[in-house]
Amino acid sequence: MHIFYNFVTGFWQESVKTLKILSRNKMGLFGFIMTTLIILISFGGPLLWPPETSANVAEINKASSAQHWLGTDFQGQDNLRKVINGGKDIVIIALLTGVLSMLIAVVVGSVSAFVGGRVDSILMEFVNIWLTIPKFPLLAVLATVLALKDVVTLSVLMAILDWPALARQVRSQVLSLKSREYIEAAQMLDLGTPQIIFRELLPNMMSFIAISTIFEMTHAIYQQTGLVFLGIVPYSSSNWGVMISAAERRGVLFNPQAAWSILAPMAAIVLFQLALVSFARSLDEVFNPRLRTSV
């Protein structure tokens, strides 16, 4: 019980400290708050405002108004409600793909760089070959063969395709840190390769890793949106990507009033990306004790 209590208070203290640091950078704070809000709304929103089930013919393709802040779509349904409900998939894809691909990339990249020699050559050859594969067309082909019905499958698939590029970046970072004198000292103290990689080296790369993860997330969002827009990924739930695709197909581009049906989901995606990137900017200070002047 005692240990649990210590863990909780320790975690709380660290979180408070981190928030204090984050709040110093205005952009970062904005990003952090925005990201949290979007995630909360995407998961909690649908519970409060479940998607509408029936069409409302009288309200088709209306522009923004007092009742419908973001207008209505081709079915007469409220766009704002659809946006609230459409975020969940996007968020899951972003988080899953981002974290998973980074995880694989970090392990492969750091081991490859640190161990060097044959292992490094073999792994990098593999990575280089992998990188020549055009991912988007491959995803398209796979979509026809496999049933990409749910978000998790798509995320894992994208993660598998994306990790090599990240691994290369991780490897060059590790290579540059590997020759630092404190790493040499750790080797002299015989601390063992796993400990050196995971406790001495990688923590020095945390801001790089965190920021890369976030950029990978934005990349995944774009990829998914593109796939949906092209109709390659035919899963049933409605998300922002599907909203854009559907609206486009219904000729929204020729009807100025209906523009809201395409602008609303677009804005949502852009806002999410912006929030993530702004958040990334403040992470450098969190992870680098030198930049912290005082907490």
Binding site: Y182, A185, M188, L189, D190, E200, N288, P289
Partner: protein
């Protein structure tokens, strides 16, 4: 006479740079006993740092052997290997790069203690860390436990580096220019700390430096070895090498160093070199590598034959044809 702690036998080290071969270390033979104090001096490119790294096990030799307690470090295994790796530690030159910037002093020192189970549990580890900080004169130790490297001065960081080396009970420390990047006014206290390590704990020290005056001070009870373009040209007790230098290069170096005493330094007699061009490591001169610049150049023998390192006057070993021709 007991066997030396560390022995170098015909050690060579070559590097490949852009397809060209550089012989950084050329046929070094050296014996270091337990608790020895030794200074390797020379200018940049003479191979002293490379030699230090090979002794510490950070670089393999290209040919030749390095023996630790009589066993070849390239082939030892298991417990012998661990004994060697922990037995020889290194302190680097740059105090700003030698500590992990995201670890506190305590974390840096605790890591090796706990990894090798020298201490168990946090209380014991903390106690030992405090002890080590006191040995390196970082007192009161509690002031330093939670500090990050960027909160410490250069001299303090070097002391932490030494404390870190001491966590594994080394028998020998290689200090590569360990005081060169530290303020002049505190170098002496750092060097005195190293001397105390030898006196109180029997830890030998190899100080690599380009500063001969510093070498004279530090190695006064030990030896100085002078290196030139990868070879050891003179080695002997510090007293003798400084007061009775025999190799022409040593003489030139000693005469060239400016002293922190206006009268002494301006009155010093300079020895002129035959040529002021420093040969490149890519094109080493034949025979004695110093012959193109040597003021005591004797002709063909210096151009063709590499002088061996042999016993000369005053107990020093010197690699010079002129000196040896006087001996015979």
């Amino acid at each position: 006479m007991s066997e030396p702690l560390i022995a170098l036998e015909h050690v060579n080290r070559t590097f490949m740079v852009k397809g060209q071969t550089i012989k950084a270390v050329n046929d070094i033979n050296l014996n270091i006993s337990a608790g020895d104090i030794l200074c390797l001096v020379g200018e940049s490119g003479c191979g002293k740092t490379t030699t230090g790294k090979m002794i510490a096990g950070l670089l393999p030799t290209s040919s030749g052997r390095i023996l630790y307690r009589g066993k070849d470090i390239a082939t030892i295994k298991h417990s012998d290997r661990k004994e060697y790796r922990l037995g020889v530690q290194m302190v680097h030159q740059d105090p700003y790069a030698s500590l992990n910037p995201i670890q506190t002093v305590y974390q840096t020192l605790a890591a090796p203690l706990q990894h090798h189970s020298f201490t168990r549990g946090e209380a014991e580890t903390k106690r030992r860390v405090r002890e080590l900080l006191e040995i390196v004169d970082l007192t009161p130790p509690d002031d330093f436990l939670e500090k990050y490297p960027h909160q410490l001065s250069g001299g303090q960081r070097q002391r932490v580096s030494v404390a870190r080396a001491l966590t594994v009970h080394p028998k020998f420390i290689v200090a590569d220019e360990a005081v060169s990047m530290v303020d002049v006014s505190i170098r002496i206290s750092l060097l005195k700390m190293f001397t105390r390590l030898k006196d109180e704990m029997g830890v030998g020290v190899l100080l690599i430096t380009h500063d001969l005056a510093l070498a004279k001070y530090f190695a006064w009870g030990g030896r100085i070895g002078v290196m030139y373009l990868g070879r050891l040209v003179e080695i002997g007790s510090a007293r003798e090498v400084v007061n009775h230098p025999q190799h022409p290069y040593t003489e030139v170096l000693l005469s060239a160093i400016p002293e922190a005493d206006p009268d002494a330094t301006r009155a010093k007699k300079r020895i002129e070199l035959r040529s002021s061009d420093m040969p490149s490591l890519l094109q080493l001169p034949t025979g004695c590598t110093f012959h193109p610049r040597c003021p005591a150049f004797m002709g063909e023998v210096c151009e063709k034959v590499v002088p061996p390192l042999e016993k000369a006057d005053w107990g020093s070993d010197v690699a010079c044809h002129l000196v040896q021709s006087h001996e015979s």
